[in-house]
Symmetry: C2
Subunit: 228 residues, 2 copies
Amino acid sequence: MTEPLACAQCPVRDRAACASLNDEERRELARSGRTKLLGAGETLFAAGDDNANCATLVTGALKIVSLSPDGTERILSLIHPAGFAGELFAPFTDHDIVALTESRVCLFSRPQFEDAIDRFPKLGAALLRRTQEDLHDARRWLDLAQSGDARHKVGGALMAFAKAASDSPCHPASTFELPLSRAELASLLGLTIETVSRQITRFERDGGIQRHGKRGIELLDPALLAEA
Amino acid sequence: MTEPLACAQCPVRDRAACASLNDEERRELARSGRTKLLGAGETLFAAGDDNANCATLVTGALKIVSLSPDGTERILSLIHPAGFAGELFAPFTDHDIVALTESRVCLFSRPQFEDAIDRFPKLGAALLRRTQEDLHDARRWLDLAQSGDARHKVGGALMAFAKAASDSPCHPASTFELPLSRAELASLLGLTIETVSRQITRFERDGGIQRHGKRGIELLDPALLAEA
DNA sequence: CGCCTAGTTGAAGTTCGTCAAACACTGTGG
DNA sequence: CCACAGTGTTTGACGAACTTCAACTAGGCG
């Protein structure tokens, strides 16, 4: 289930928060961490947990979900490789964090990670930077969620995934795989599965995209999606 | 317009990020800051700015707004006293920050504030904590925005303001003033003015609240608002 | 082959947005 | 003092967009 860290081969070793550390500091932090492999759908942290851990995502993708009392799930955020999962200050988590695909994380106990932040201020600064980016991201999704129009929402989400799939952060990838099912897309956007499906076919009919299989998207006319 | 800081009388001196500093450190930080008084509707930072400043809110309330190309404004977040405004890492801001009511802020130049974080790691940790709380907050609004149902959205917003108005952070205040106009509420929730108005009158008709003037709200049945 | 899940498509019902009018409140000027 | 305009809010009628319900299609795997 869990193994010691092997930072040397880590694919996110110079993008994650720990990239701010020098080799010696990193070794020290690594001693308190473990890597863990999650299967698709497996939950990393559950709402109501005592919030004793935190983690950095190495490969795969996570979702942060809120479950309403009536059982419907809403996706509040996605975590991409090098992203950070967990809250350092709240006594309890109130959201589930679940693997979307098979994922590998670096798991740390919260007290040990807090200790590391105390001793290596650069680590704290790096985490601050990442948290501010997450905040910015959350606000972008909020912006989409408020736009009211389903066409905007789906178009904006497609563009967001196209950008996330590209290596250069600004230009969208011309072809990519959706990381989410229709149901997950719907719960991310506050729509129903059917509406998402209809908007996607509409974009294809209008020549904005071309579908390849269930999840493959080829971007033909980015402008059409960005401002519909 | 701007004056030197007077931390001794500051109403948020033990809740804002600078509360993490001791007296001497605080004095040093204070030398690089200025307080500024904003009239209602005045903008503190504008989208597209070079992002050279950041600020702590002392009194009043701010909103973070995104303006769509078509001119409609969407409120992404509110900033309450002791809250922090500005991004330390992005080269440009892409959201306006505007005063909702007459507000007083502590303004710092970004390089000087970053410098202070470097020298006083506790300040960085405090800011990290605050940013994580902001992130949590943004996700709560996102949760509301996704709920789809206008009744949930308005009910949730009323409860959020009731809690913000109370001294104890968990229990809602039984009577409070809405900090936002109907138009602002609408743009925060992704609804129209009319829908917000209708939902509020519906809550009053159903006995959940009692209105006192345009902005005054008396909370009669919190459970009705929380889970409608 | 048949079941099961994920996705698409269609028809009907509801909610919310749009347009329009009325109302309350404030401040201004006759 | 009152008429008046101006703003913010409420209310109503109507139409469009989304949800709901339901049937149907396409793959994947026993």
